[in-house]
Amino acid sequence: MSNEISFTLTNTDNSCFTMALQGILNTQNTAAFIRKAEKEIATRRPSTLTIDLSDIEAIDDYGISTLACIKQRILAAGGEFKLANIPDSIKEIFVINSFDKLTAPLAAPAKTPDVFVQLGTATLATIKKSAFALMFLGDTIVSILRLFISPRSLRIDDTISNMRRVGVDALPIVALISFLLGLIMAFMSSVQLKQFGANIYVASLVGLSMTRELSPIMTAIIVAGRSASAFAAEIGTMKISEEIDALFTMGIDPHQFLVLPRIIASVLMVPLLTLFSALFAILGGLTVGITMLGLTVDGYITQTTHTLELFDVFWGFFKGGIFALFISWIGCLKGFQVKEGAADVGRATTSAVVTSIFMIIVVDSVMVVILRYW
């Protein structure tokens, strides 16, 4: 059998045409056929088109779909469409594929609801999400309280492995970013301070601002990007693959199993990371101080230690812990909010990072106010 299709279009009467097909109309030659046929039809504009299939040897579903498209086009232009002389050998395929129903358009996609419906739906969804977050908070608090009653229920191995992931693995990037930040701050502030011969105060500026404010924030943002996203993705994927349901049905509290080790690991490690961050930032400042500002190592360190009080170090450390609490809790919450599909995991991960960073800034502002009026 040759794998060819050809056609002749003859004018029978006025604008009535007959298209006689010869050969095989199948997957391989449909695309070429429809291009040619449509061109012909567009030039001749038949009011009635009869397709003569008497010389068709074989046709598959691609061929059928092409005939359906031609029919659709003719009917849309107000014309008439007919199939003639369908050989018995191919009649069945027209019936199997319900040729007569093919021209009906696909079920229209659901219309976008009007703005009020959208607003209402969004409000309800937000209320639902807030209620879930509240329940989740309650569950977390209960599982923390339970931990006080039976400390053995904490999964130590998981906690340690999370501490490594959140803390140790993040140290290089935290150190590098903080060092560079210290470097930039020292350099930028020196431009101004140099004019007053106050180069030595670069040490105070870098030490104080990093230890109290920037180190906790920078560290928390890095941890949000690294770990909150990872928590959301891990837990979200577990939710999809029914692992959380499995835990629940085994009588194991998913909070105790998944959330607590992550929160505890984060709360323990982020403050330490914050201290390292401050230390590396001071090193960055020191580098600029001794290479560009003519300061001595001794002078720089003495000035830093004079400026910094123990409370400043403690405050940065404490902030780190509070941020960690929010970041890890939000990461876990977003994971638990996943319902289905890879896209939902992606959304949860993004939302975990964005919400965490937003919360870091909000909590920091609140803490600044609290400290001011203490």
């Binding site: 449509e38 598959d60 579903d61 779909s65 498209c69 594929n97 093919l102």
Partner: protein, 258 residues
């Protein structure tokens, strides 16, 4: 419609295939041919390497040694152009359907058509409708995969695999996890496609009822010998095989513990 089966012509040839990892060989000395237009079933117990074999045949895994040729083209030679040209002629039905969650069923099926068929959009819409009709999912065009059942996902996956009417189709456990009626319907659908389009089907399964309903030829893999333990017509294997593993497999008997 018997023209497809007139002359047995090997379309896939597997030669001396060794698969797995250097320190953990899963399959060795695997040799078989698959003829055009036949329904070829890969049988075997859990962990015997059925899915591994299938993954090698579609180029998702590279063998340690040996060759796999599809339509005379060696897909194990590392040339991605070769592999891509062969894969254009293959449809693959994954175990869970592997539908894209962010797309509706209609878009899932339209994706390969839009990429490769060169047909106008109206024609594609029409074909989508026909393919969904073929797998009895008419009316579900605008549903997302998450909104339909496991059996429906498999049928939609089959519709997507068949979108370009490929001459070869690979199915990984098409009836696993389906109720007997849905499973039988899927079998009937596969037979229908095979009869009407002459599609060569390579099916991995351990559903015996499916095997007897649709298989032209089977190979059975065994974990212990890490290769093919039996090959041939399923009824003959069931009735005449002397191999104790094959006999137990068809009679659904557990291993005798001495």
């Amino acid at each position: 419609m018997t023209t497809f089966r007139d002359k047995p012509r090997p379309i896939i040839q597997v030669r001396d295939l060794m698969a797995g990892f250097e320190d953990d060989i899963i399959l060795k000395n695997v040799n078989f041919d698959i003829n055009a237009s036949e329904i070829f079933i890969i049988l075997g117990g859990s962990g015997c390497g059925k899915s591994t074999l299938l993954k090698h045949m579609v180029g998702l895994q590279k063998p340690i040694s040996g060759t796999i040729s599809i339509n005379g083209i060696d897909i194990t030679d590392g040339s991605s152009a070769n592999l891509q040209s062969v894969l254009r002629q293959c449809g693959i039905l994954f175990q869970g359907g592997a539908l894209f969650g962010s797309m509706t069923l209609a878009d899932n099926i339209a994706l390969p058509l839009r990429e490769y068929s060169g047909l106008p959009e109206e024609n594609i819409q029409c074909l989508v409708k026909m393919k969904l009709n073929m797998v009895q999912l008419s009316g579900y065009e605008n549903h997302f995969p998450a909104e339909i059942s496991g059996g429906m996902k498999k049928r939609a996956g089959l519709a997507r695999a068949m979108a370009l009417n490929p001459p070869i189709i690979f199915c990984d456990e098409p009836s696993a996890g389906l109720d007997p009626i849905t499973s039988a319907e899927l079998d009937r659908l596969l037979l229908h496609i095979n009869h009407t389009l002459g599609t060569t089907m390579i099916i991995v399964t351990h559903e015996l009822s499916s095997v007897f309903n649709i298989a032209d030829r089977v190979i059975m893999l065994d974990k212990n010998i890490k290769g093919i333990v039996a090959e041939g017509d399923p009824f003959q294997l069931r009735d005449n095989s002397l191999n104790s593993y094959v006999k137990r497999f068809f009679k659904r008997q557990p291993e005798v513990i001495s």
